[in-house]
Symmetry: C2
Subunit: 564 residues, 2 copies
């Protein structure tokens, strides 16, 4: 049977299955190295595409990803829908009302953090378009505007995640950063939409003036009347249609229709989907679960398939020009950092905080990559600038967390799951008393800590004698702070018959979590105890813990937070 004779449907499902599996697998590996998943997803495309598989096994790549035919047509349409949905999700993260509510600091940081990279980008794009790989026949103004917009955008999802990791999301600083990034995104996207409008010269397209007017009118109408209507429609949908089907279908329909409209007026579909997301996400009637469901699907199914397709389409090695990459990186980073620093100075913020804000806002993330893809498809830029923008997006996103952590000297929030290993998990402990349980768990904990067993055992025992560490409901957290510990040690023991821990509620402990933290690390112990209390506050989670037969099953329980 000849490989070329494969039915298009075989190709379609094979391409989807292989790409999704590879993209998510490499995305998880990237996450394991504390890098953004999108890095791994693009790498998967590079491996499956012309750069690697195409070079090693051209026939295999031809079969899996034919350049033409029904499967190729479908996948191309699928990627268009995927990025529109990705922007719907990104728009839903934007809280338009909270941007409006923020005060002077947010405004000066937003404006300067936008104006500085925009001005730098515009100047660079205007003065030296060929250096950055503009198409020779493209308009200088349009290219400079695009380049300026591309450098101004922020990666809201990356920023939110970084702030969450550092326990900063709900602080004044966190709210400020998020509001400023949202403002910049809105303006950046508006400029980008206008750039696309200025470019649309296809036969039958609207005149440039019409496109610009329609774009501004669309945004204005959606952010005023559209918001009003959606906010009043959502409770009605929740009350009178199936939950959550009604609101999911409403969100998708609105995104599709707005995408069709912006595509029709000559700017890209993603812009309409983004504005639809902003309008829906702004309503306080939107339920968190709806946002989460859409995000789960978009981030884990649609986005990996799209980002992998980039590696399939472009030969990243051949289009990698170090000079262009360095120039783009330099301008992008300098513009954002200087702008935010200046804005922070105007708002009389401490220098440390405004640097931290700059590092946070500097991340460009996946949205930048989508913007670059659209510009590439529209013929506005060439592959070398595309590759440079992708690299810039990845590098700035990867820098963001570590640099913020460094400048603020904030440790990331510690979770029990991060410090538990197979060697510190005891499926069944035989102990009947707290003293026996501590003695039983101490050797594993001591080994993980690199300390002598008696040191660990005596320290935990001494603490236990001071006052019971039972949290109630059958959970106990014997613990001690020890000098010279490099990282926290978490040791778990399960007991079917129960261990007497002298709990206030008289219940024997069935789940014993022994914690060792460093003497000089004040936050770690409290964070880990709070994490145990939070995870096992629900009875079903405590029951599920007893059913765990292996370390992996127990870890799965912690990671998912779902008992069934």
């Amino acid at each position: 049977m000849s490989a070329v004779a494969l039915h298009p449907n075989v190709v379609l499902f094979l391409a989807l299955g292989v790409t999704l599996a590879a993209a998510r697998a490499l995305g998880e590996i990237a996450r394991g190295f504390r890098q953004p998943a999108v890095l791994g997803e693009i790498l998967a495309g590079i491996v499956l595409g012309p750069t690697v598989l195409g070079a090693l096994l051209p026939g295999g790549m031809q079969v899996l990803f034919p350049a033409a035919g029904p499967a190729a047509q479908f996948l191309s349409g699928f990627h268009t829908v995927a990025i529109a949905l990705f922007l719907l999700g990104a728009g839903m993260e934007v809280n338009f009302s909270s941007v409006v509510r923020q005060g002077r600091a947010a405004i000066s940081i937003s404006v300067l953090g936008l104006v500085a990279p925009f001005a730098l980008g515009f100047a660079a794009g205007w003065l030296a378009p060929p250096l950055f790989g503009a198409e020779p026949d493209s308009s200088r103004l349009v290219f400079a505007l695009f380049f300026a917009a591309a450098l101004s955008i922020s990666a809201l999802p990356v920023i939110v995640k970084t702030l969450m990791d550092l326990n900063l999301l709900r602080t004044d600083l966190g709210v400020l950063v998020v509001a400023a990034a949202m403002f910049q995104d809105l303006v950046g996207w508006l400029v980008f939409a206008l750039v696309l409008g200025l470019m649309s010269t296809a036969p039958g397209a609207l005149a440039v003036g019409e496109t610009v007017l329609l774009t501004l009118g669309f945004v204005a109408a959606m952010l005023t009347a559209g918001r009003w209507v959606v906010h009043r429609t959502l409770p009605w949908i929740h009350a009178y249609t199936a939950w959550p089907g009604g609101v999911l279908a409403f969100s998708f329909s609105l995104a599709f229709l707005c995408a069709a409209f912006t595509e029709w007026i000559g700017i890209h579909a993603i812009f309409g989907a983004f504005i639809a997301g902003v309008v829906i996400g702004d309503s306080t009637h939107l339920r968190e679960q709806t946002r989460a469901t859409i995000d789960q699907f978009v981030s884990n199914i649609f986005a990996p398939l799209f980002f992998a397709s980039l590696g399939l389409r472009v030969d990243f090695l051949a289009s990698f020009h170090p000079a262009v990459v360095l120039a783009v990186l330099g301008i992008a980073i300098a513009g954002k950092l200087l702008g935010c620093r200046l804005g922070g100075w105007l708002a009389r913020m401490p220098a440390r905080d405004s640097w931290a804000i700059g590092f946070a806002m500097n991340s460009r993330g996946a949205v930048e990559i989508i913007l670059a893809t659209v510009a590439l498809q529209a013929g506005l830029i060439r592959e070398r600038l595309f590759v440079a923008l992708v690299v810039m997006a990845l590098v700035t996103s990867m820098m963001s967390g570590p640099l913020m952590q460094w400048v603020l000297r904030r440790p990331t929030a510690r979770r029990v799951a991060d410090f538990l290993g197979a060697r510190t998990f005891r499926h069944r402990v035989a102990a009947r008393t707290a003293e026996e349980a501590i003695a039983e768990l101490a050797p594993a904990a001591a080994e993980a800590a690199g300390l002598p067993v008696p040191v660990v055992r005596d320290a935990v025992q001494a603490r236990e004698l001071l006052m019971s560490t039972a949290l109630g409901n059958g959970v106990a957290v014997p613990h001690a702070r020890l000098p010279g510990l490099a990282r926290p040690v978490v040791c778990v023991g399960l007991s079917g018959s129960g261990v007497e821990f002298d709990a206030a509620d008289r219940q024997p402990a069935h789940l014993i979590v022994l914690l060792l933290t460093a003497q000089d690390d004040e936050g770690a112990q409290l964070e880990l105890i709070a994490d145990v209390a939070r995870i096992f506050s629900r009875a079903e989670m405590r029951q599920a813990a007893q059913r765990a037969e292996t370390f992996t099953q127990f870890l799965a329980l912690l990671r998912t937070g779902q008992a069934v």
Copy 2:
């Protein structure tokens, strides 16, 4: 601007947006009349397709749904993926292990409920293929096998929903019905896959013998080794990849790869996706949330778009032949009912129960429609049998609930949300005591009940004097049973300052739910009180109730069960 000049991406998003909105809207209207949503979704396609829009405004339909071109290519591929994902979801509902565990009753009902319609269908298909619209050149054996398989399948989602509505899902009868339906589905699909294998005569396709062997080998391998591997892989995925992204991507990748495989061996992609769903759904490590997330997306986005596309593709009016429809309906219903009745008799079940099981299993639902679509696309049947099978699937699904309810004389479970109206909702009550609150709510309740105000007020007051109706945590449920009430009356009052209801926990009531039920309806009162207690057991729901400013917002809270 000429309509034909629309960019393919405009068409794509417009078609998706309009179809999804129309399908879900008509689906919700169908649900409002207590009919399956799929009925409304197909109707939406009929309205947008050749039957209505095509007849009224041929140009408009051409623009929205062009017969060829990139948008048409994309949508065709999209529908193929959509039905594969629908079958992934359907497969995940099948609990293979529970089928194996069921005893003698399940076996005799499964087997006879399968054999009877299968035999009837085979006989009819063998004796009179042209009557049912077989293609003249198709094999008689293949057609008869297809027809038999098509009559044997059950609609698991419809059955589960009906059992839930009747509070039967967790009863012996419910478990039995679900297990028997799962068994029939597995066998029915296997036969259908073999039919597709027997038919595949495309150039480059495998020989029939190879296809059949590979199909049986695939099913056997997946249900043994595949189940073992997936069951052991899921905890690992939960423990070491992002939640819930890892498990979602794993499920989709596996479904896509199995779909590619079954497509390659000459049976349809949906079969591979279904088996992948069975294998994943069987693992006790699968979290309920994963199943729910996949189901929400598939049922609310992919399925409506697919079912609407049926109405777009087929002219239902022109292909509606009453004789064929009646013959198919008669054979389908007779086969299922007789088979289940006979099986129940063999298992010595009460006649009433085995009739109820027959009515439940008789529903064919959406899966039957997908099976018919595949047979139509494969050239096995013609449009008039397609339409007859669709009508049969809808009619049997619509009959199922009412007939079960009638034969078992079981009322559907009553929910507060079903009996609350804008006229019985008080945004703010002024009362400070229980007596005042009852007096304040009584007029609205009396109006809804069609009874004099004093009758209602005095009955509720009398009950309140007997013993406080406070549930604690600021919730009170004053209630009374009254003679001559046609349906329950629910009346809600919110109080910011609190009403003294003499609660055991001393908390004043902020949420007062006044309930009137019929004297002779014993279950209603208990069910409604339990519903109030369940919904408002979470503090966030009680707080959200106080924030509700309109009746619609309050109803949205009840329907979604989500406070934020």
